[in-house]
């Protein structure tokens, strides 16, 4: 496990589960929870988030010695905003239909606390390569939770996955309207957070992995 021992590799793995941004730190659920009722939208949004998180961490880390301390936050926000504009332009060009429904939420990646949090906590103190991995790890850990939520919400709410109907849908499927509505997302996130936290607490109690 040589990869795991390097600073960057460790940060990447840590962010996936032990320090998972969603249920361990409760960061940045705002901008993306809204798009979890369809898996396709979620995947697109997560892709954009991973891209922004990784590259903005990289950029901030490369510039960390040149950015004056007092205007640090402002510069970080501007760097993140620049990458979000790239993501937004890409989605607008490639998936115009989806852009109509998730448009404003793409812009909200800027204020996603995960990206800002990783920039401030990790990228502004570490070299480029580990920062890139740390950003990608945070994005992946976040996406993992959202994809789980989206899977359940789309299957129960629409009876489809990625827009394709589930097998033998007429036989067993019954629409859970609540999963289409906003409260469904809150309940699902609470359940996932409960499961994740309970598992980690149990393992800590048993003196297992730290």
């Amino acid at each position: 496990m040589a990869f795991k021992d390097t600073a960057g590799g460790k940060a990447l793995i840590q962010n996936l589960w032990h320090e998972n941004p969603v249920f361990r730190q409760m960061l940045g659920i705002c901008s993306t929870l809204a798009v979890t009722n369809l898996l396709k939208n979620t995947l697109l949004m997560c892709g954009g988030l991973i891209f922004t998180a990784g590259l903005s961490s990289l950029t901030i880390s490369l510039l960390r010695k040149t950015i004056p301390k007092q205007v640090r936050m402002m510069v970080q926000v501007l760097i993140i905003a620049a990458y979000v504009i790239i993501v937004d332009t890409f989605i607008r060009a490639q998936f115009p239909d989806i852009h109509k429904t998730i448009g404003p939420y793409v812009g909200l990646i800027i204020t996603n606390c995960i990206i800002m949090g990783r920039a401030e906590a990790f990228a502004s103190k570490n070299p480029a390569w580990p920062s890139l991995l740390d950003g990608i790890g945070a994005g992946l850990g976040y996406s993992l939770i959202l994809v789980i939520i989206a899977l359940v919400r789309e299957a129960l709410g629409f009876g489809t996955l990625m827009g394709i109907p589930l097998p033998a849908r007429d036989v067993w499927w019954y629409q859970w309207t609540i999963m289409v509505m906003p409260p469904g997302a809150f309940f699902m996130l609470a359940l996932v957070a409960w499961f994740g936290n309970a598992t980690l607490l149990k393992r800590e109690k048993n003196g297992g992995a730290k």
């Binding site: 960061l27 501007l78 905003a81 404003p104 812009g107 996130l189 994740g196 936290n197």
Partner: protein
């Protein structure tokens, strides 16, 4: 200045007033920025532990959303569209928000130090509250909005956020002593309660057609 902008509209068409009321109610209840659009969750989860701070932050958000929505609408209509730089809207909006928050902070510090101390910590936090940027972005989604509509939309959204966080703080103060499964403590139980409140707010959707 704001009154002057609304006044002629109100006088010319009495219906406009009703329309503005609908925009306000929709923004505050049926399309609640937090409960239906999931914006401003981070500070919501972190701050809603105490009633007093929740109210303080809530009013600060109302104030900032109202004015940044108006400023951003003006910038978008009179600067970005004529110059063809709409793609820069994210950068411009976030700079406006950060600058406005900074300005408000300075003004409050100068004129009312006591209010500054009670709000002090929350004002800078607002810059990264996604609800603020969200209001500006959703406002542009509704292309028929003029300045009064944007102002009311910003105000209504802020009020919606205030209502949500105050409700949550009230409930959280009540359940502080209750036995909750360890894995669910903190954010987990807050999210479930938020879901129940959101469910209650769904009932408002019949109010506006």
């Amino acid at each position: 200045m704001i009154l002057a902008a609304i006044q002629p509209v109100v006088q010319s068409e009495p219906n406009v007033l009703a329309q503005l009321l609908v925009i306000f109610l929709a923004a505050a209840f049926t399309e609640n920025i937090l409960l239906a659009r999931f914006l401003g969750m981070c500070s919501f989860l972190a701050i809603s532990r105490q009633m007093k701070t929740s109210i303080g932050l809530g009013f600060a958000v109302v104030f900032v959303t109202t004015f940044t929505a108006a400023i951003n609408w003006l910038l978008h209509t009179y600067v970005m569209v004529p110059l063809g730089i709409v793609f820069l809207e994210y950068i411009i909006f976030i700079v406006v928000i950060a600058a406005f928050v900074q300005l408000v902070e300075m003004i409050i510090e100068r004129f009312s130090p006591s209010l500054y101390f009670s709000l002090g910590i929350f004002l800078p936090l607002i810059t990264v509250n996604c609800a603020i940027l969200g209001v500006s972005l959703f406002m542009l989604n509704k292309q028929s909005f003029g300045l009064p509509e944007s102002l009311i939309f910003g105000f209504g959204s802020g009020i919606g956020w205030l209502i949500a966080i105050v409700l949550m703080a009230g409930i959280r103060e009540q359940i502080k002593e209750d036995k909750i499964p360890p894995g669910l403590r903190g954010a987990g139980i807050t999210l479930i309660i938020t879901g129940i409140i959101a469910l209650a707010f769904v009932a408002f959707s019949g109010m506006i057609k």
